[in-house]
């Protein structure tokens, strides 16, 4: 349950930024580990890449691209908030970041299937 003092859109935007950041940190070592096979054991890399033919893995990739996109677009909002003159349209900007992320990850998913 989200506690009452947190139940407003910009707190959810914060949550999304934190959760996506954490998920990306956890994914990175795996990503690096698999790519490093390219030099020593290319057949193992291909083995991993074949998994991406499964729809379920494609969905997971879609999720990952979404997390990456929302971390960038959400992060852009935060950088703008900190370094540009204040914009009163914070909620609109946060919602736009989510929309842009769906657009990007959706495009990725459509290209993948």
């Amino acid at each position: 349950m989200i506690r009452p003092h947190r139940s407003h859109p910009l707190w959810y935007a914060f949550l999304l930024h934190r959760v996506s950041g954490l998920a990306l940190v956890l994914f990175l070592p795996l990503h690096f580990y698999v790519l490093a096979f390219a030099l020593t054991q290319p057949e193992r890399l291909d083995g991993f890449l074949r998994w991406t033919d499964y729809t379920i893995v494609k969905l997971a990739e879609f999720g990952l691209v979404f997390l990456l996109a929302i971390h960038i677009f959400g992060g852009l909002r935060l950088l703008a908030l900190e370094f540009l003159p204040w914009s009163p349209r914070q909620k609109t900007l946060a919602a736009s970041a989510v929309a842009a992320s769906f657009l990007v990850s959706g495009t990725f998913f459509l290209q993948a299937v």
């Binding site: 990175l28 690096f32 390219a38 290319p42 960038i72 992060g75 950088l79 290209q111």
Partner: protein, 110 residues
Amino acid sequence: MLDLRLYMAQRISALIMIPLTLGHIAMMIYAVQGGLSAGEILARTQGSLAWMLFYGSFVAAVSVHAAIGLRVILFESFKIKETILNALSWTVFLGLLYMGARAVYAVTAL
């Protein structure tokens, strides 16, 4: 827990990564068409200094950014002591840097 130096490192690494991540996403959307294969990826990247610089700076920036981000989460969630927090941040930074450098080398070296 951030002071000015960590904050600057966090924000500067973020600024560096904005164009790099957007490029990476564009690349993924392009590359995923027709399925992923090691041969296709390597044909594009191996022996390319440009890709090595692109992904090399990406790895350096993400190691800084992720180590500081994780540091804040660990502190705010578990109130870890500063000495331990520093040790953990450095471990995450160096670990990611090492693994990332290996991966970049593997896909871009000849």
